[in-house]
């Protein structure tokens, strides 16, 4: 403290008051010193910042949730794909002719001795005109 007093007091002591320049009290002008209220601005800022933070957090959370859901769905799709493939294999194995024949013979089924496919009466005339005959008349010889 002593040091400060010394250093400040010395110039003051050397300064002399100037004539005609005395300080006077004046009324404070209201128009020049109008200042915006600070509280609403601060509140608004807090609201904006908080809302932005909440929005960003929400968006991030939603995106993360979506990503996890996508991952889950991909896994599920893969699992179902494998299941589908296994079912395809099972179907192919079950419908394989040797298995069907074995299963048939186990329950006493046999192939028919004679299978006859009858021509359709409506198609007969058309087919006979197209088929021709393998028989070559003797007259067509060389």
């Amino acid at each position: 403290v002593a040091v400060a007093v010394r250093s400040v007091a010395a110039p003051i002591a050397r300064r002399r008051p100037r004539p005609g320049r005395r300080l006077t009290l004046v009324r404070r002008s209201r128009s020049r010193t109008v200042r915006a209220p600070r509280v609403p601005f601060a509140l608004l800022s807090m609201v904006v910042v908080t809302a932005t933070v909440l929005l960003l957090t929400g968006v991030q959370a939603l995106m993360a949730q979506g990503a996890f859901r996508l991952s889950d769905l991909s896994e599920r799709a893969e699992r179902l794909g494998v299941e589908r493939d296994l079912l395809r294999l099972r179907l192919a194995r079950l419908s394989a002719p040797d298995r069907v024949a074995r299963a048939g013979s186990q329950v006493g089924l046999v192939l028919p001795e004679q299978v006859e496919v009858l021509p359709s009466p409506t198609l007969r005339s058309a087919s006979s005109t197209r088929s021709g005959s393998p028989t070559t008349p003797a007259a067509s010889g060389p």
């Binding site: 993360a64 393998p134 028989t135």
Partner: protein, 570 residues
């Protein structure tokens, strides 16, 4: 006195702090500028994983879209023996699941390697059980496995794939590029537990699945042909046999069976000779079924009249060799129809001599001998047909009756299919088209066609072949309700590695039905049957397969005959 610290201490403290902060700053600068790429790479290595995606191999389907071969996800089971805690215990638990012997598995688990495969292409249910065991040092890798649900069904045609899913034989090899698809890759960012980091780095180039190959084969007909062939081989105590069924008009192969065969799922355990599709890869001396070419050439060239009779003895000398018919008979007047129906060797040789070697050679080649059929199958044989300039003096005795040349069963069937198709040869084919991953069917181009003989000649030949079944050597091939045209063949097998013939025979019957409007052409061939004659050993096999095929394809039986259908040359 004031509490003013000595200036020396302040300086020292400042120096220490400056040094410390300077060190930190220096390290930061080093990390951020100089070593940043290295650490970035290390971090990426830990988080970012690049995965090669193997495309799913396309299926092979029959003409009705039934699966003959398909690929499914599977797992490879591996071990890092350094991390295996109890090798004996692990071997005891894994051996029954992997169907391996426990001592062998234990040896693998105790090896000095850092990675050993314990089993490849393990089914998913088994892999899941292994995963549940949670054995230290045992891991699973994704891969795919090829399944052949019909086991030995058409195995020699389908072929098989290796461990890396590359086609090694048959259509799997022929259409490797089409079936294999295109590999993909994926880059993902993972957390330490292996979970993908949401919003992390994720790039993927999808693997493109291979196309599904749609064959011309009919699964049921193929099975029936294989079953009938197996029965015939066993009944005739034969060494093996082949059956081919085709559609003469389109060249489509409906069935192509060979016996003995193998289970395509266990191809590594099969003898290599069993994996060959002998109908396409092996040539044999066809014998009397070849006489149809001699007859076709004679009719087409007009060297023999349809009703012309000439006296045919039972023996005939060509150069230094005496040829004879299968049965002794007095010199008999015969027409060309009789020669074919009775399968007379002497009559056929006499017919061929009117043609001359050059013309006969021309027709043999025109019918497709000496070159590939165009079926597009790996290892297809051209057969053996010497240039006419290299023929022996006796060749005009042997070749007209189907000895001294070698053809594949498919080439021989193609001759009969040509006659059935009115003289037009259609290249045989095994593939109808392909199905894209989006389900779009893309058909193959129609087979190439060549006119070989005139429609009139084809009709006359059909009549002759019908006569051979009706009243000649092929009566065992008759099918109630259908007119059948065909020819027997009984060919001696040449000695291996030396000139001359053995006492072993190949019996065959090749023909088509219904003769009036052929729907199918069928070749039935038995190798070294106890009963050597084609009309006895092979014709019943032909009948059984053809009868089933006609019913299966819903081909109506013929109208009741009002007159004998085959009166050619009488």
């Amino acid at each position: 006195m004031s509490a003013r610290p000595p200036a020396g201490r302040l300086v020292a403290l400042f120096a220490v702090l400056s040094l410390g902060l300077g060190g930190v700053a220096l390290r930061l600068v080093t990390l951020q500028l100089r070593e940043a790429p290295r650490y970035q790479a290390l971090a990426q290595e830990q988080r970012v994983r690049q995965i090669q995606m193997v495309p799913e191999r396309g299926s092979i389907l029959d003409r009705s879209m039934n699966a003959l071969a398909l690929s499914l996800p599977a797992r490879a089971v591996y071990a890092d023996p350094r991390h295996v805690v109890d090798s004996d215990g692990a071997a005891r638990q894994l051996a029954p699941l992997l169907e391996l012997r426990e001592p062998a598995l234990g040896r693998l688990l105790r090896s000095d390697e850092s990675f050993v495969y314990l089993a490849r292409r393990v089914d998913l249910p088994v892999a899941q059980r292994i995963e549940q065991l949670d054995l230290p040092g045992i891991g699973l890798l994704d891969e795919t496995k090829r399944y052949y649900p019909g086991r030995s069904l058409a195995a020699q045609v389908l072929g098989f794939v290796g461990v890396d899913h590359t086609g090694l034989a048959g259509l799997e090899l022929q259409y490797q590029d089409l079936l294999a698809g295109r590999p993909g890759s994926a880059v993902i960012e993972q957390d330490p537990s292996g979970q993908a980091i949401p919003q992390g780095l994720s790039e993927a180039v999808e693997a493109l699945r291979g196309l599904d190959l749609v064959l011309t084969l009919d699964r049921d007909l193929q099975f029936q042909a294989e079953r009938a062939l197996q029965d015939a081989v066993e009944q005739n105590a034969a060494k093996g046999g082949m059956v081919i069924v085709s559609v003469p008009r389109t060249g489509e192969i409906l069935a192509m069976a060979g016996y003995p065969s193998f289970d395509a799922n266990e191809f590594s355990e099969a003898l290599p000779e069993l994996t060959r599709n002998r109908s396409v890869t092996d040539a044999y001396e066809p014998g009397s079924v070849n006489k149809v070419i001699t007859a076709a050439a004679a009719l087409e060239e007009g060297t023999v009249g349809l009703n012309e009779q000439w006296v045919v003895p039972d023996r005939y000398q060509v150069a230094d060799k005496l040829f004879h018919d299968s049965h002794r008979h007095p010199p008999t007047p015969m027409t060309l129809t009789d020669v074919i129906a009775q399968s007379s060797n002497v009559g056929t040789i006499m017919t061929a001599q009117r043609l001359g070697p050059e013309t006969l050679d021309h027709y043999l080649r025109k019918f497709g001998f000496g070159h590939e059929t165009g079926i597009e199958f790996p290892g297809e044989s051209d057969g053996i047909l010497m240039s006419e300039d290299d023929w022996w003096q006796t060749s005009m005795g042997t070749i007209p009756i189907g000895q001294g040349i070698a053809v594949t069963p498919l080439q021989m069937l193609s001759v009969y299919a040509t006659v059935a198709n009115g003289g037009v040869r259609v290249e045989p084919r095994l593939v109808r088209g392909a199905v894209s991953p989006s389900g779009e069917f893309m058909g193959t181009q129609p087979s190439a066609v060549t006119r070989v003989i005139s429609p009139d000649t084809a009709r006359v030949l059909t009549g002759m072949l019908g006569r051979a079944v009706e009243a000649g050597t092929g009566q065992e091939a008759q099918i109630p309700g259908y007119w059948v045209a065909g020819k027997t063949g009984t060919a001696r097998k040449p000695l291996e590695g030396q000139l001359g013939y053995s006492e072993q025979y190949v019996a065959s019957f090749i023909g088509f039905a219904p003769a009036r409007r052929p729907a199918i052409a069928v070749a039935a061939i038995l190798d070294e049957p106890a009963t050597v004659y084609g009309g006895v050993a092979a014709a019943p096999l032909f009948r059984e397969v053809t009868h089933f095929a006609l019913a299966h394809l819903r081909v109506p039986s013929a109208d009741p005959p009002r007159s004998p259908p085959f009166v050619v040359g009488e």
